[in-house]
Subunit: 344 residues, 2 copies
DNA sequence: CAGAACTCTGAGAGCGGTTACTCATCTTCT
DNA sequence: AGAAGATGAGTAACCGCTCTCAGAGTTCTG
């Protein structure tokens, strides 16, 4: 009653077809709701003749069970969600894709929520998304540990991507940034570079900190390191390139591929040849950097592994099993055309 | 009862915290469930002292209302969904972003479903997504008209992006591909090009057909047109470029920016200079094509307008009002470095 | 042929909320 | 002081579906 009035008011002009409910189908077919439910769920212990009648009625009324009601009754939704900080970053597409496919095999669907890098909204968004489904894959590299820790009970079961949460058993899939950086640096050193610039990402970002740490460690009297504040986007990389000319460096390590690409573009505009005058490396190996001019040398993160891995763990959690242990994927050095011997 | 057994079985080992329900909060606070509900919804007609007690109990139990139950009772979810064929295409990011923001103003959240170009799954995915929320923004350029028409009753209220559906009143936001193509062609003609190749997109795609039509119409004894089957991705564009050398064309119109970018890359590898030996244009103006080498001349689609427009219409539909009339946004010619005078 | 063992189907109790109604209790006005 | 009006909280129905349980009808057994 309560809702009837509201819903009919709400749908005064729209909602051409008041949706059929299980009750209506039952009445139409002359059976009980239980039977309709059984038929709709493929329960085989229904007399074929009855089942047929129900199917007919359902068809005729255009009936389809309400997922919301179903979720409430079942206590599960058949959905998992993934929260990403920025859909614009192609990095996530690989994960999303893998996750969608892996989940699909178990008849789960994936919904994506994008926090648009809105730090403030992230906790709310995560909690809300989580409660509407059965599990969450969370990628929130900027959220402070304490906050995440506090949220943990509301988010479970969930899996972290790209960060770890100390003191908890939350499964997490991380990337070995340090190893990636080491490989890149080793590569550059072997080409004779001795003074490098690092185009730093957002300093709230855990992954940026990891890179910085690895760089400083590698630098240790092997080479000189100049850190330049930059950001995480094309535009950031593009804008920062002008500063590079004064730094007297021969190679640039960018926070990620997006930045590297922006920088590459600007260097080209400035008439600085890559790689003969300046080498540049990115990180991630997002899909199109193999097509840049020149193609970008980068640390290739096997994104396609992350999706299935995340699903496997989430699935375990949702079934009350112990998830496999955390993995830290190791990027593979992908040498392309943007790096070359240091100019004399 | 029914579920209790199932749910406790399911969560045997996980689910550390059985979620508090409204009933538990009510008992703890010594009030009725109705009162708890009122407090949680900020109903002011509750005695402050009682309200406080309820809030305390809720806090203590870590209670948060179940969105699923709430949705069922209210008959609305506070969510809209958008279905995209391929999240990997940056085209959609603009729409998504605008939609998220517009919806947020009315306290609605956006969830994204990605069909991964899986034509087969699309109808199911769309229907399912739709039924879990209050409205849908659908971008399914490849779905046949008949199928979409058939789905219409189940999807309402919804808004179409990038296509129209004849014979219905479904609001749709489209892009004037013909105008975009005309502008691009005019630009190329003014540079002296007389023999163009078109790198065709998927031929199931409505937008590809629109482009082809516009091209043929423009061609009319003004220039020669060679149509080459290609696709919609970087890789497609990259792969097709080798064929171009034999075609004796001086300019290339790509299905979209992704293809153009792939082609550009391959041409560079082949040592064919753009634009002095070959001009190339894309379509969409996705974020990074201004950073390619050379930057891509393209038809810039104002994606940021689509999100808010879509929301406005969806909102109207959801409230039983008549949505504003359809709009067809007109791309703006964005001349950059990838086009130049036709070589002699 | 009675009773056991099955099969089907329907009744009804949830799932976790919301809200129309009802009923005290407290004001306020005549 | 007594009646009408407010106000605040509780009761119970309902959202649409699932599932246990029990009863009716069948088929087997001995």
């Amino acid at each position: 009653m309560s809702n009837r009035s509201q819903s009919s008011e709400r749908t005064r002009a729209s909602a051409p077809a008041e949706r059929a409910t299980i009750g209506l189908v039952a009445k139409t077919a002359g059976v009980s709701r239980a039977t309709v439910s059984r038929v709709m769920n493929g329960n085989p212990r229904v007399a074929p003749e009855l089942a047929q009648r129900v199917r007919l009625a359902a068809e005729e009324l255009g009936y389809a069970p309400s997922p919301v009601a179903r979720s409430l009754a079942l206590g599960r939704t058949g959905i998992i969600a993934m929260l990403v900080p920025d859909l614009g970053n192609p990095m996530f597409q690989g994960v999303l894709h893998g996750l969608t496919d892996a989940a699909a095999k178990e008849n789960y669907r994936l919904l994506v929520a994008d926090s648009n890098e809105n730090l403030h909204e992230e906790p709310v968004l995560a909690t809300e998304a989580r409660r509407r489904c059965d599990g969450l894959v969370l990628c929130a590299p900027r959220m402070p540990d304490e906050q995440l820790l506090e949220l943990t009970p509301q988010l479970e079961p969930f899996v972290l991507i790209n960060r770890e949460l100390p003191e908890t058993s939350t499964p997490s899939l991380t990337i070995d940034f340090a190893a990636g950086i080491r490989d890149l640096v080793t590569h550059l050193l072997s080409l004779g570079h001795r003074r490098l610039a690092y185009l730093a990402g957002p300093d709230t970002s855990a992954s940026n900190r990891a890179r910085v740490r690895a760089l400083h460690k590698a630098a240790q009297d092997t080479f000189e390191l100049v850190e330049v504040a930059c950001g995480a986007t094309f535009a950031d990389g593009h804008a920062v390139a002008d500063q590079l000319t004064d730094l007297n460096v021969t190679a640039v390590v960018a926070y990620n591929d997006l930045v590297a690409f922006g920088t590459l573009s600007r260097l080209h505009e400035l008439g600085i040849n890559v790689p003969s005058q300046m080498s540049i490396v990115g990180f991630d190996d997002i899909p199109f950097v193999r097509y840049t001019t020149p193609p970008l040398t980068t640390a290739s993160v096997p994104m396609d592994q992350l999706g299935p891995q995340a699903w496997q763990r989430l699935w375990a959690l949702m079934n009350g099993e112990a998830p496999e242990k955390n993995v830290r994927v190791r990027p593979r050095l992908e040498v392309r055309g943007s790096t070359g011997p240091a100019p004399r």
